[in-house]
């Protein structure tokens, strides 16, 4: 298992509030291999953005990581490091050098009063003390050219750039210090479909050239099917299915995955009637008993409203669904 870059075990993130806390991520476990693109898909409120901030240890109160491990093995480190107990100061050594992030909205992710180039050079020079100003500027130009931007754009302020340009710039920024893992939180929601494709094509090409791994979170399953190596499906704070993009698309095992899959037009076939998933995502403060999806599930049966299904291997995939569980002696929900 030495090619595992990241191993998340039982990660639980809660929003602490008066009158009880809300579990936005509940016992989430998965692995990311070196150079792999792992897609995380789910509806709004499924906890996928919370997962991203928890992975990068950027969660802010009231969000608190209450349990679990984030075992991270960046290059040049023999033993995996658990990111969860690290202090901010200890984390700072890994930030950007090993672990970088692309934010949801490039509009707001860049400091409006600093030129684009300055937001590259400050991080470059912070992580490489020997790098002079000229060296940092040269490196900035190289990085920008990776995503098809010019040196002239480094002298622009963020508001002078289009949404797509800004988003490509934040991707270039994430690559500045050669991180092993780049997490992306819906990096293409703010741009149009054409730009979306260009950006994702860029990400794929750069991943092939530079070999970083990506955890990409989005609600757009069809996008992940094209881009990701493996896909994890989240529902109500839990991962309900993990599998290769091919399997998720062609052989979804969980009824929720099948529902998501059916809500998107097919890739290479005439558009037929699409089916949504009836109902709405559950309120995390009042989760349904048993499987959280059971009130919306077309295939629910006797154990679904009382027993919480656990994520377990079914062939190459992992599924948390009673339809696929061989052993029903699971935790009985109180």
């Amino acid at each position: 298992m030495s090619d595992d870059l990241l191993e998340v075990r039982g990660l639980t993130v809660e929003y602490v509030a008066e009158g009880g806390s809300v579990r936005a991520c509940d016992d989430v476990s998965f692995t990311v291999r070196r150079g792999e693109i792992l897609g995380v898909a789910g509806e709004s409120g499924s906890g996928k953005s919370t997962l991203i901030t928890a992975l990068t240890r950027l969660e802010r109160p009231p969000a608190v990581t209450t349990a679990g491990q984030i075992l991270f093995r960046p290059h040049g480190v023999a033993e995996p490091i658990d990111l969860v107990p690290l202090t901010e100061k200890q984390l700072r050594k890994h930030r950007w050098r090993d672990l970088a992030i692309v934010m949801q909205s490039a509009m707001n992710a860049l400091n409006p009063v600093l030129r684009l180039g300055a937001q590259f050079t400050d991080v470059l020079r912070h992580h490489d003390r020997g790098l002079g100003r000229a060296g940092a500027e040269r490196r900035t130009e190289e990085l920008l050219s990776l995503v098809g931007l010019t040196a002239a754009q480094a002298r622009s302020y963020p508001h002078e750039l289009s949404g797509g340009t800004r988003q490509r710039a934040t991707i270039a920024l994430a690559l500045a210090c050669g991180a092993d893992l780049v997490v992306m939180d819906e990096p293409t929601t703010a741009v149009d479909v054409v730009m979306q494709r260009q950006i994702l094509a860029n990400v794929l090409r750069l991943r092939d050239e530079l070999g970083f791994a990506v955890v990409l979170v989005t609600h757009d399953l069809s996008l992940l099917v094209e881009l990701a190596d493996r896909i994890a499906i989240m529902y109500a704070g839990k991962i309900v299915e993990v599998g290769t993009a091919h399997d998720i698309y062609h052989r979804p095992s969980h009824p929720y995955t099948a529902g998501l899959r059916a809500s998107f037009p097919p890739l290479h076939a005439p558009v037929e009637r699409l089916h949504g998933i009836p109902g709405t995502p559950p309120d995390l403060r009042r989760l349904p008993s048993g499987c959280a999806f059971h009130p919306r599930c077309p295939k629910r049966f006797e154990p679904c409203d009382s027993v919480v299904p656990r994520l377990s291997a079914v062939g190459d995939q992992e599924v948390a669904c009673h339809l696929h569980s061989h052993d029903r002696s699971e935790v009985v929900d109180a």
Binding site: T56, L58, R60, E88, L91, R92, K93, H94, R95, W96, R97, A100, I101, M103, Q104, S105, N108, A109, L110, N111, P112, V113, L114, D122, V123, H126, H127, V147, G148, L149, T150, A152, Q153, S156, Y157, H159, E160, L161, S162, G164, T165, T170, V194, R197, Q198, L200, A201, N202, L204, R205, V225, E226, L227, A245, H246, L267
Partner: protein
Amino acid sequence: MTDPMMASEAALAEPAAKEQTARPRRRTSYLGKRLGFYLLVTWVAVTLNFFIPRLMPGDPATVMIAQITQRTGQPPNPATVESIRLLFGSPDQSLITQYWGYLGQLIHGDLGLSISQYPVPVADLVMSALPWTLMLVGSATALAFVIGVGLGILVGWRPGRGLDSVVTPLSTVVGVVPYFWVALLAVWIFAVKLRWAPVSGGYAPDATPGFNLPFMASALGYGALPVATIVFSAFGGWVFGQRNMMVTTLSEDYVLLARAKGLPGWTVMLRYAARNALLPSVTNFALAIGGLVGGSLLTEIVFSYPGMGFLLFDAVSNRDYPTMQAVFLLITLTVLLANFLADSLYVLLDPRTREAS
């Protein structure tokens, strides 16, 4: 699986050229426009200043000449009469002629003669009072801004923690205490009881005003207490405003990204959070400069400080219209200047405004 995406790869470099802009020209043209606007408003203010006494019922100029005659026992000389007529209206001349004469007089710095201290020119009174006020209120405003905004940045960086829970409520309480009460209390405690500072005045009576050490030292000593009272009353507002802006800015994605970049805490706090959270405070600071001349009334009355506020107070008590008018004109001009300063500063600090208007 990825094939359909690669076709668009070639189009990547294309949008680069369009986004280049002629930035330096834009900045000057923006400032040029603002400058033009302020020159226009200045002209309007000066013109209003011309019309207001002429709109008063009766003939203020005649009343004034009578007042001077009464005070000095003889009618003023023809040149003075002419000047008063220009400033306050003449029944014999056309409005246009008067207006040109008035503008000419203003440009030469002739603001008429004071009535209460006849025949001292108003310009002389203003020129001797202005430096005192500028030094007093200027240094107090700057100090309050630096202390208040600095504290605001610090407490806003960690809202709800130790420093915030002490400084913020305290600065709010201090900010709402009426200023005159603070000033009187300060005089009573520090000047009367403890005798650490002089009770009133701008400098020791035995010092000769000018560029000499004894005078400047005594001016500093006399100014310390009034400055301290202004800073005490004003800094709380800065703390509060800056803290709240800081808290708002902290939730911005670019601050989170700066943290994700692993930049040191100070860099994130100052270069990313405070640099953006400072913008409204800078505007407010420039606007506070507008209150420089007019806002020192209470301080100068409590401390009998020889500045503009005291001059105005004196002029009002003695119905010295030429002096009052000059002070009002100066207050208007300071406010305009401060607004212009605020605009210009904002352009320097926030690149986004360079495109506006």
